[in-house]
């Protein structure tokens, strides 16, 4: 029996990230099913709009605050969350399966001697126990797991748990000033890729493969992505060729993504690529080879030349935007 669920929210640059609302909503939905309480924590300096988490079913948020906590520090954040859990008696803790969540959740797991299930994509309650579903082998299979430890930690795959529309309710925010954060591991600088949306966070991704023929043609992929507010992705073949940075690689040895829309341009659909994107809600493929395996997972396909089809897509979307 669970009694109190904790949702760990995430901020960057003083703003709550989208994953925070997904985690809050999932935590409050599950709390309701388990007849448990739910609360949230956020760690940072100034953080805007924390009360809005109330719209996703979480009534109480503790904001741990210190100027040195503006940027992530695994040592400081880990200590704070473990102490919160010990004081508050939470028995289930949710994180986002983000760069921060993946780094931080295991630290907290050791401090609390808690079992940990990463990258969960669904939850079910069986005999009063929380069962998590998570992809393994890059999504080629799924496992249903339960945690047998006293405290249990789950991280939630971004873009899977729909936060829905906020209700307008406001959460009660308690600010706790942190005295001496443990900064033995700390971020001294944040290097942002200029104005670029990351594939792991985007709700639309436009990806290019070797069929784009060369780095000089990726302006087509970028232009289409810009028009759709999408992130640019890439196959490993084009990353290995040095046409695109590794941060854009989608697949088993790149990023696993679940956007609403994934557009694959000149990508064959090798098993390692499919593994990283097959759980996208809608998949569009443009490839001149009708036998390319990408068409086996595509919802909509055009068996044509990217150099004809992509410019036409750009034109069509421009028309839409103007009209």
């Amino acid at each position: 029996m669970a009694n109190k669920i904790l949702a760990v929210l995430e901020q960057r640059d003083g703003k709550l990230k989208k994953i925070s609302f997904e985690v809050a909503r999932a935590a409050s939905d599950i709390a309701q099913k388990l007849n448990a309480g739910v609360e949230a924590v956020v760690i940072g300096n100034e953080v805007e709009g924390i009360e809005n988490v109330g719209g996703y079913g979480v009534e109480k948020v503790t904001h741990y605050k210190h100027a040195d906590l503006h940027n992530y520090s695994s040592s400081a954040y880990g200590d704070i969350i473990a102490e919160h859990v010990n004081n508050s008696g939470n028995d289930i803790i949710f994180f986002g399966n983000t760069a921060m969540g993946k780094d931080l959740a295991p630290k907290v797991a050791v401090k609390l001697n808690a079992g940990i299930a990463m990258d969960c994509t669904a939850f079910e309650i069986e005999d009063g126990e929380l069962i998590a579903t998570r992809p393994v082998y890059a999504g080629k299979a799924l496992i249903d797991v339960k945690l047998t430890s006293g405290k249990k930690i789950f991280t939630l795959r971004p873009n899977v748990f729909n936060p829905g529309e906020p209700s307008g309710a406001k959460a009660e925010v308690e600010v706790k000033e942190v005295a001496n954060p443990n900064l033995s591991v700390r971020v001294v600088e944040l290097k942002k890729s200029e104005g670029k949306l990351d594939v792991a966070e985007a709700s639309i991704i436009v990806s290019g493969g070797r069929g784009m023929k060369g780095p000089e043609n990726f302006h087509l992929v970028e232009e289409l992505a810009d028009l759709l507010g999408a992130a640019v992705g890439a196959s490993r073949a084009v990353v290995d060729a040095g046409w695109r940075p590794h941060s854009e690689q989608v697949g088993q040895t790149g990023k696993t993504v679940s956007p609403n829309l994934y557009i694959a341009l000149g990508i064959s659909g090798a098993i390692q690529h499919l593994a990283g994107m097959r759980s996208s809600k809608y998949i569009v493929a443009v490839n001149k080879d009708p036998d390319a395996p990408i068409f086996q997972v595509a919802d909509y396909g055009i068996t044509g030349d990217v150099f004809e089809v992509v410019p036409a897509m750009i034109e069509e979307i421009k028309k839409l935007k103007e009209g």
């Binding site: 992530y72 695994s74 880990g78 760069a99 780094d103 295991p106 630290k107 797991a109 050791v110 079992g115 990463m118 990258d119 992809p135 393994v136 082998y137 890059a138 080629k140 299979a141 799924l142 496992i143 797991v145 047998t148 033995s184 591991v185 971020v187 001294v188 290097k191 942002k192 890729s193 949306l197 990351d198 792991a200 966070e201 941060s247 040895t253 696993t256 829309l261 098993i271 097959r278 759980s279 809600k281 809608y282 998949i283 569009v284 009708p290 068409f295 086996q296 997972v297 595509a298 919802d299 909509y300 396909g301 055009i302 068996t303 044509g304 004809e308 089809v309 410019p311 897509m313 069509e316």
Partner: protein, 248 residues
């Protein structure tokens, strides 16, 4: 300086996964096992660190006899010694980390490398768990690393950029692609690796906290529509995306 690198032995990424007869794990028949792709970056970084700072590289793997193949590969690339922590039972990441932490302590290693993620269970936490059990600092998903005396500066990949992280030894680093270019084993290295003995020990026991209830295949995708074979299909594609899928 003692440097450790932990490697896992996993199904090749080209593997087509079939569910095994226990309904909880994959059917291993016909599956080729390889050193985990990210661990190759970890091995390379361990060797580079040794070249820079001096010392010795020990490679550690937990599993069965079969893992010796991955250990040999690391030896062939240039690792000095290898330890197999024997256990044929399936362990969750926490239970793996407990045994690894125990051995790293035995070895007295102060710089430890892992791959950022093992491509079988995709947990991406074994390095961090091990570090925390040892009381070491850690930086995960590292794409650039500098060690200067006691000071460690590592860049880690995050959404939309990188974090530059500062910490001190002892440290665990989990390697991401981009950190380096793994070297190929030379013929001399391969021959030398054959002569080296792999030390075998029983892995320290630990309980699993994760209980696998079942393994299943994801729901198959419905076959999609081919809308056309040239640019003339584009207006219909855009219409479907707007009206049927409602995603743009």
């Amino acid at each position: 300086m003692k440097i450790a690198v932990c490697v896992s032995h996993v199904p090749d990424t080209a593997t087509k996964v079939k569910i095994g007869s226990d309904g909880k794990s994959i059917d291993p028949s016909g599956v080729t096992y390889v050193v985990n792709p990210y661990d190759e970056f970890a091995i390379e970084e361990a060797l580079k660190t040794k070249e820079q700072l001096g010392g010795e590289v020990v490679v550690i793997s937990l599993g069965t006899e079969a893992n010796k193949e991955s250990l040999r590969k690391a030896l062939a690339m240039g690792a000095d010694s290898a330890v197999l922590l024997k256990d044929d039972k399936q362990r969750d990441s926490f239970a793996v980390a407990k045994a690894l932490a125990e051995e790293i302590k035995n070895q007295g290693a102060e710089i430890v490398f892992f791959g950022k993620q093992s491509v079988d269970y995709d947990n991406s936490i074994t390095g961090q768990l091990t570090a925390e059990l040892l009381g070491y600092n850690y930086v995960s998903v590292v794409v650039d690393l500098k060690i200067d005396g006691n000071k460690v500066i590592a860049e880690r990949e995050i959404e939309g950029g990188r974090e530059v992280v500062e910490t001190t030894l002892p440290v665990v680093i989990t390697a991401q692609k981009g950190l380096n270019e793994p070297r190929y084993a030379s013929l001399k290295g391969i021959m030398a690796a054959k002569r080296k003995t792999i030390e075998e020990k029983e892995a320290a026991p630990a309980d699993n906290y994760v209980e696998i209830i079942r393994m299943k295949k994801p729901a198959p995708k419905q076959p999609g529509k081919i809308i056309g074979s040239d640019a003339s299909a584009v207006p219909e594609l855009i219409r479907l995306l707007r009206e049927e899928a409602k995603v743009i």
